[in-house]
Amino acid sequence: MGRVFLMQTRAEMLKFVRVPAFGFFSLLLPLIIFVFFGLRQATVPLYPHSAITVGTYVMTSMAAYTVGNVMVFSFGMALAIERGQKQDVLLRASPLPPAIYLLAKIVNAAIFALVALVVLFVFAHFSAQVDLATGTWVTLAARLLLGSIPFIGLGLGFGYLASPNSAPALINIIYLPIAFASGIFIPVNQLPDFIRGLAPYLPLNPFVELGWNAIGIPTDRTVTTDVLYLVAYAVGFFALAVWAYSRDTASKFA
């Protein structure tokens, strides 16, 4: 069983690194956005007398965006493509346990999310003098990786609902506006009024708050409340994924 898992994870990783778009969107794009939003006032305090710089704040926001993006894209896109190519048919006739298949995908996504985080952290450290205590770096990364679990559910849902052609557009159309409205690129208090009211209830808002809280920015809600929100989203998104999976299975394998 262990060997199957290792082989399956290795295959997932090989497939992932061989898609240039995945590398671009998960590694390079966050850096580009960071350059636009974070570099100009990198060392300026976030608010008067704050120990936190704008650079640190933007890096944290981008880190949340990146991890969520890796989860939603790697599951959504990969599954939609696999379904489009009917890879699920042969796998279903093979003795690969579905749990191992899913676990390999999760481990692969977590590893890439971690790599993307490290790349972003190192880039921010050297380009914008972002400096955190070792424990804070680790807490930030750990919170974002664990807090991204709901987005795996969302990605799975996309993967089973979207066609391979529509998946990238669909994911971007939904994920990007949610990221904006959740205060990831623009602080919530600078968003238009009608979105400000909505922001706290969007899935990326409690997620990015976990990150902000880790670096010491005061947030609207407590960590416990944010976690509860994320748990609720996880339940909702995984229910969506299970429903989409059953629907797909019922049409092909009943």
Partner: protein
């Protein structure tokens, strides 16, 4: 010892369409069986039930007496499917290695790749393979776990000449090694060439089950057709060794297993024949004689 493969009163409906109508048969371990039938006859549906890819609407599909949906059962068979895909961004050897890891006692990686003749392509990405090479790769994935049963759905469709040669050799070796093999085809010659037993399936029913010789003797192998300018005299076609005859306008079509004898008799009777054509019956026509003749 239980049968390797068994369908018991299997019915499969897709909405209102009945793809399989109460089909039962059993295949002993170690036999090489071909399932023969035209497109849409129900071959793939039967295979899908046996693989657990589809659930029978009624009846059962058993592999070594067990449910094909269980992992323990699935480790005992390998499959080559018509409508399926594999990751395009893995190399041939990586994909074979991956599939091998699913099975308890797989064949060595190099041996599998060599068996299907893809040694030169082992470092090639799947997406860069030709159609024939892809087909060979699917074959490699079916055999790599050294399974007790091989299910091969239309294995030679799209195979190049070399692929087909390799395929026939490996199939025979596997059969000689005591494996159970069930393959589908719509070519009578292929079934004849490979199998010890042929199951003929048409319109969702099992219509014949026997040795290739038995099936061939019951199926009209040739089709003779010609046009006759003059109206045929009554009795011009009577008593000929044909399984079916059909006259439409001036076009005469005869199905027979003995075209020489039929032609000799037609010439002897001095029947007026233009545009004479003799050719091997295709499967649809052969089935008409098999089903229509009874």
């Amino acid at each position: 010892m239980p049968n390797a493969i068994e369908l018991i009163g299997a019915v499969k409906k897709y909405g209102d369409f009945e793809a399989l109508k109460n089909v039962s048969f059993a295949i002993e371990a170690g036999s090489l069986v071909a399932m023969l039938g035209p497109n849409g006859a129900g071959k793939t549906t039967s295979i899908n039930l046996m693989l657990g890819l589809r659930r029978p609407t009624a009846g059962k599909a058993l592999i070594f007496g067990g449910d094909p949906r269980q992992m323990a059962t699935r480790r005992r068979f390998g499959a080559m499917l018509q409508e399926s895909g594999v990751p395009q961004l893995l190399k041939v050897k990586e994909l074979v290695e991956l599939f091998r890891s699913y099975y308890p006692k797989p064949l060595p990686n190099d041996q599998v790749i060599k068996l299907v003749g893809l040694e030169d392509k082992s470092e090639t990405l799947v997406r860069d393979l030709s159609g024939g090479q892809t087909q060979r790769l699917y074959f490699a994935l079916a055999i790599c776990g050294d399974p007790e049963i091989l299910f091969l759905d239309e294995p030679t469709v799209g195979m190049d000449v070399e692929g087909r040669r390799v395929f026939l050799r490996v199939i025979r070796d596997f059969a000689a090694g005591g494996k159970t093999i069930l393959l589908t085809t719509h070519y009578l010659e292929e079934a004849d060439e490979l199998a010890q037993r042929v199951l003929v399936i048409d319109k969702g029913k099992l219509i014949a089950d026997g040795s290739p010789q038995e099936i061939k003797s019951r199926v009209a192998g040739s089709k003779i057709s010609f046009t006759s300018a003059s109206t045929l005299e009554a009795g011009a076609l009577s008593g000929l060794p044909v399984s079916t005859s059909d006259v439409a306008d001036h076009r005469v079509t005869l199905m027979t297993n003995d075209p020489q004898a039929v032609l000799r008799e037609l010439f002897r009777r001095n029947v007026d024949m233009a545009n004479l054509e003799v050719r091997g019956a295709d499967l649809e026509e052969a089935f008409l004689s098999l089903t229509g003749g009874k």
